[in-house]
Symmetry: C2
Subunit: 153 residues, 2 copies
């Protein structure tokens, strides 16, 4: 599914995570370390099952489904991971990197592939309208649905 090109820990995200966890008085466990390592390399949103499989495959360490969810939930609470709701069966998760470009998602409704994209004009439009809307906007999520090139062909 998503390519596996190791991007080499973006802006020390994993380190930042370890720090935040320590500050929150957490101990370091092997499952969480393996998951942090994986998320630091993945460039786009994965499901809990994809994460579980990826961890088992790279033989880093098998992590139980429950732990995957627990750890993701914990990281989300610390603002280190964000949930991406693509409208597919399973929710996806991806790291939130501080100095990385903010991106959104393209979803192929035929094969299910999820790709990231970003657009400055779009962000501007959202920032602008966020001020005129009856909601103190904290975050936004944009998902474009359609057919990817392979499926449309």
């Amino acid at each position: 599914m998503s390519s596996h090109a190791p991007h080499r820990a973006h802006d020390g995200w994993a380190e930042r995570a370890e720090l935040a966890l320590a500050a929150a008085g957490r101990k370091r466990g092997g499952a969480r370390r393996a998951l942090l390592e994986l998320l630091a390399e993945e460039r786009c949103a994965l499901t809990a099952v994809e994460i579980e499989d990826a961890l088992r495959a790279r033989s880093a360490r098998a992590v139980s489904r429950a732990s995957v969810y627990r750890i993701l939930d914990e990281l989300e609470g610390l603002g280190l991971v964000q949930r991406v709701d693509t409208g597919q069966a399973m929710v996806r998760y991806e790291r939130v990197a501080e100095h990385e470009e903010h991106h959104h998602h393209l979803v192929c409704d035929e094969c299910g592939i999820v790709m990231p994209f970003s657009d400055a004009a779009l962000e501007r439009a959202i920032d602008s309208l966020s001020e005129r809307v009856p909601l103190a906007v904290s975050e936004h999520e944009i998902v474009l649905h359609g057919s990817c090139r392979d499926c449309a062909a």
Copy 2:
């Protein structure tokens, strides 16, 4: 939750729906008619449970949960209803009216209220970027999360 101001069948949506269903060789059932009537009046996305409750309340006719889902699924397939994924526990559904303004959603993460909004500049940005992206875009969904005025106060 959502206000109940009857908007009086937008652009004959219910009629259009009846027509499309007949064209698809479907028979008319009481459950579906009640649901169409409700959706024609509601201006924003409802969950299956909200629909079920609303139908029971307005005493139009009680409709079983299974039928609510089946009918919504059928209408979605005909392009008469669209699923709105707000990231909350339950998916929401709303009618797709032909000559009605395309809108998106604001979600208060504290109380869960969902409000519609629309913005021309945003639509323009999306139309424009849709042409530069590696996906034949068929639809898009934008959800802004935050705190509504009541909750932020």
